[in-house]
Symmetry: C2
Subunit: 425 residues, 2 copies
């Protein structure tokens, strides 16, 4: 299914002079990008033309893989999905070039352009990151199915698996929060830095891409959590115990990275991103008993141990039975149904964040849960098949609703002087 | 104006058995609260019955003033406003007692009750804070005008200034995000801790108070910002340069704290909280020129210096003129109109946070800005009068909209064994 593009719905439009201003800023940005290596304005925080490698809180942007997938998860997320409004393939290429150049600057602690040099022009950076550190900012780009529709002559380059997911059990999808022709996943330990990144890419992209939806997320707080401990989700359970460890190269090659067998050469070294906004019915959950909660997950709430064990990382025993013959880990427990043991070894790399978006205006209940992001070689045979198998059997389904869905192909990283999507467009 | 109570609108209700469960939890909580000083389960993070003073990241809860006003601002905010649904004054008192006991535990790094002791009951804490540190959690309670309506016999105890603000220039108020009979301002350096606090107070209050609206905010990140530097708002400008410094006792007494001249004895030592959700028209702002932006604030964007100076803390000179006779700081600049020089010395203590709530579904534009919170002796002669004087003259008005408003009386702090609101109810 393709989501209706926001640009095809009625909305206020005001292009014209701004379009010109946008192009002016773009030229400016290109010149700034070229000069970035030569300038060194010092200081610990965001500044124009900061030299490369200026801090320990910088995650390298350039390289064979995009950052933000196998690199360590940061504390905060701002995720934006965009509708493409570019009028030509050339404009689309310029967009990706501009986004790449701006991201290389921002992830390195530099602004996207001068704030104060031209009094009569809008600043070439919005400025709220001035003086802050990049706080391990990563920006990860993905291309949605709509990128390959009939507008830009790219239909033949569309990878076979780049299509929206078929309807799944538990879907209560809201189109306005779903889909998108492009995505930008910005992660940082500082929410203002992640917001600054998506906002400035939105600004730079004006005329070529339009923000469709935006999701904020929070996760572990590095200052108050040890690096080793498994974070808890908003149901109060440790979440991700059996996730692929992103430094497990063999598992990453087997389940996440696309290799030479990918028919679309431009996507080799990349992966697929699935985003699902999973709302938790918090009030219902909070009224359920400890036993119900632990049987739902198949784990102890406090320790995170599987119900057959005593410690979080004890092996999950799916055949153990109580004295009365009942399964220790119930037949419908989430870890039984979601684990690789029940799924022919299917695994995914999860990298999601908790979210809270205030009160649902219809029910008056908290709108909070998990903004689930995962990476895999194939969204349909991995995430969607896992979800389908959970189907109506997973005890967790009583307490969650999937309210959005999106799928993106994630190209490989860019080399110095190159751009994300090079080789495709 | 009194906002319509959510409870007077149609909504799903499901009391009955949960009401009983709620009371059970309350009894449990009281016993836990009483035992908290005696238990010491060690560990660096949230646990049941943590001993007092267990870390440097604890802000004391008990004391003559509530924490979260003059105490240093943390990085993150979760602000909840509640409609009271209690059926009697006794229930209302129990609510405040329960909230006080739970908050004393949480701010000290303890859970609100046992997670794993009763398999057949819902856990007495939702658990997502287990293992985390309190990260300087403060929880500040306020009472709205509706607390003193005809339901609980408190009309005669209502302070004269506790009423919603009159209509103000720039108001585009949304009733569903405005007002409230009670408020809970939770601040912490860890968003999960702030969320955990409001969520558990909501859970504990079930049957007596119902969450009306919820707002998340983010501010400086202590790990990436020096304590001395003034944070930037989402317009990219330093914000708060001339704010009252909360350690300036004389200014706090003069402008913030209510003293012995307050007719309502229960409010002495307290203050008033005004909350205003100020949306910034980000896209319009980002298209305006640097000169426009700097003339709007009256400050330089990069340095934060007033237009008459070179450094952030240079004195604002409201009479300086250019060679051509025009004012250096324009007649409609925000710092001219908002500063105490133009307002007979009226000052307020600002303690707000930036927010981002995704995309406005109507316009497709970013819904982001400032969740403005201020404290003062009188909301009408201080905040509202300042805002009225800004009126239609403030150049900033072109770029902002006030989308919510709420006023609360903030009682003094609680003593050990006491509760917030003691002396009133």
């Amino acid at each position: 299914m393709l989501w209706p593009s926001r640009s095809r719905r009625s909305r206020p439009r005001s292009l014209g002079s701004e379009r010109v201003a946008g192009l002016t800023r773009r030229r400016l940005l290109v010149s700034v990008g070229g000069a970035a290596g030569a300038l060194a304005l010092g200081g610990g925080g965001y500044a124009l033309g900061r030299e490369e490698g200026g801090g320990t809180d910088v995650v390298p942007f350039y390289g064979p893989r995009q950052a933000g997938i196998a690199t360590p998860a940061q504390d905060r997320l701002v995720f934006g999905a965009f509708d493409v409004t570019a009028g030509s393939r050339d404009e689309l290429r310029v967009l990706l070039q501009q986004w790449t150049a701006a991201t290389a600057l921002m992830t390195n602690g530099a602004l996207t352009g001068p704030v104060s040099d031209q009094p009569d022009a809008p600043p070439a950076d919005t400025g709220e990151a001035l003086g802050l550190k990049p706080a391990n900012l990563t920006v990860t780009f993905g291309l949605g199915p709509g990128f390959f529709d009939d507008r830009f002559g790219l239909a033949a380059r569309r990878p076979a698996s780049l299509r929206e997911l078929a309807a799944l059990p538990g879907d209560f999808l809201e189109p306005a929060r779903s889909g998108g022709d492009l995505c930008v996943q910005a992660c940082s330990d500082d929410p203002q830095i992640a917001f600054h990144a998506v906002r400035n890419l939105t600004r730079i992209g004006r005329g070529s891409a339009e923000l469709r939806w935006l999701q904020l997320g929070f996760g572990r707080t590095s200052s108050t959590t040890s690096a080793q401990s498994t974070p808890r989700n908003l149901m109060g359970f440790k979440d991700g115990t059996n996730n692929i460890k992103s430094d497990d190269q063999a598992a990453m090659e087997r389940s996440v990275w696309l290799g030479d067998d990918e028919p679309q050469a431009w996507l080799r070294g990349g992966t697929y991103l699935v985003a699902r906004r999973i709302r938790m019915l918090i009030e219902t959950w909070d009224r359920s008993s400890l036993t119900d909660q632990e049987h739902t997950f198949g784990r102890r709430k406090t320790s995170g141990a599987p119900l057959n064990g005593a410690h979080e990382h004890d092996t999950v025993d799916l055949v153990a039975r109580q004295g009365d013959g009942t399964l220790v880990i119930p037949a419908n427990a989430h870890i039984r149904l979601a684990g690789p043991g029940a799924n022919d070894g299917r695994r995914i790399l999860r990298r999601g964040y908790s979210y809270t978006d205030g009160i649902d205006p219809v029910t008056g209940q908290l709108d909070a849960g998990l903004f689930f992001i995962c990476f895999q070689r194939d969204p349909h045979t991995q995430f969607a098949e896992l979800q389908r198998r959970l189907g109506s059997r997973d005890a967790l389904n009583e307490y969650i609703r999937h309210t959005s869905s999106a799928v993106f192909a994630v190209p490989p990283g860019a080399n110095h002087g190159g751009y994300i999507g090079e080789g495709l467009i």
